[in-house]
């Protein structure tokens, strides 16, 4: 499958260690990749470019939500775009999972496929992380009317026609919940797909701390 109708949107911020490998793997399956460099202070952007990705550069650091929205605007300006996948730059996501999600969009009558690490047993999260993520799920389900098993998973696949109604305004971390809320509000047809999140020593070393969940909560309440 050539996937020329599909774009991978990869928010990128200081991932020079892994980004080249992540892009090199993904580009085998998805030839169209845009990395939105969110003002990295290392050479992440040029590494992504040399690996074959297109790079849109934020002049200053704005946050992952803004990077995603910039990526959405970019890929939606391509008339050939039918499907859009959001994919993390740190190597946690599997290209095969993304591929399966796009295949579901092609075959099923849904607008968005959301990755979930809690639908099977492949993902090994620590007990604390699991607990915090579960709390986030409960909060998101209560506030958005969307029923999910995993609320803060960066792997998602959208039908382009549905993505046009998404407008992220939360620059920082709360964009994940905001995205879900908009999926609910615009009545998108959604399904979940079991995905495998690989926690490496690298991703753990810079992964989201538990403190981040406090920040997300504050951002959601104090808009």
């Amino acid at each position: 499958m050539s996937n020329l109708d599909t774009w991978l949107v990869v928010p990128l911020y200081n991932e020079a260690t892994v980004i080249q490998q992540v892009i090199a793997d993904a580009i085998q399956v998805f030839p169209k990749i845009v990395c939105v460099d969110d003002g990295s202070t290392d050479n992440s952007a040029s590494l992504a470019e040399s690996a074959g990705a297109y790079v849109v550069r934020h002049p200053i650091n704005l946050g992952q939500g803004a990077a995603l929205q910039t990526g959405f605007d970019y890929v939606l300006s391509d008339v050939a775009t039918e499907y859009v996948v959001t994919f993390d730059s740190d190597g946690q996501h599997q290209v095969a999972d993304a591929s399966a999600m796009v295949a579901r969009l092609r075959g099923e009558d849904v607008d968005v496929v959301l990755g979930s690490r809690f639908l099977d047993t492949r993902t090994n999260a620590s007990r604390l992380k699991r607990a915090v993520l579960k709390l986030a799920v409960i909060f998101t389900n209560l506030t958005t009317g969307v029923r999910l098993s995993d609320a803060h998973n960066g792997l998602r696949a959208f039908r382009a026609s549905a993505l046009t109604s998404v407008r992220l305004r939360q620059n920082r971390m709360a964009h994940a919940s905001e995205l879900i809320a908009q999926i609910g509000r615009t009545k998108m047809r959604y399904v979940e797909e079991p995905v495998h999140i690989v926690y490496t020593d690298y991703s753990r070393s810079k992964g989201q701390s538990i403190w981040n969940s406090v920040n997300i909560l504050v951002e959601l309440i104090l808009k």
């Binding site: 849109v56 934020h58 002049p59 704005l62 803004a66 605007d73 970019y74 775009t81």
Partner: protein, 118 residues
């Protein structure tokens, strides 16, 4: 009877005004004028309090507050809360504008996505 009922009501009214300012729609000429008038009133009040310190004490007594200094402090707290909230709102508006500007710049400088064919 609560001897401090009056001052409690006055301070709560002040906080209510602050709350009203938060939810007040738009930021047109009226809102800006109101903000300037209230700032001017604060300056005039401060000047009067400097010239006639006894007046602050008298007013405080009127409200059931011990000293003028206490009354000033209470007023300051209300004003400060209002300031913090107004600044926060302004800050998030500016944040939004900077984001839009930076994103537009980034997209403008990028290779046109529609031109990509592999």
């Amino acid at each position: 009877m609560d001897s401090q009922l009056l001052i409690k009501l006055v301070l709560l009214a002040g906080l209510a005004v602050v709350a009203l300012l938060i939810v007040w729609p738009g930021r047109g000429a009226r809102r800006m004028a109101l903000r300037r008038i209230s700032l001017l009133l604060v300056v005039v009040t401060a000047a009067v309090a400097v010239i006639f310190p006894q007046l602050a004490n008298d007013v405080a007594g009127l409200f059931g507050v011990g000293r003028g200094a206490d009354l000033l402090l209470y007023g300051l707290v209300v004003a400060f809360v209002g300031y913090v909230i107004a600044t926060r709102a302004h800050h998030s508006r500016v944040d939004l504008q900077v984001t839009e500007l930076a994103r537009a710049q980034a997209l403008g400088a990028a290779v046109d996505a529609g031109s990509i064919h592999r």
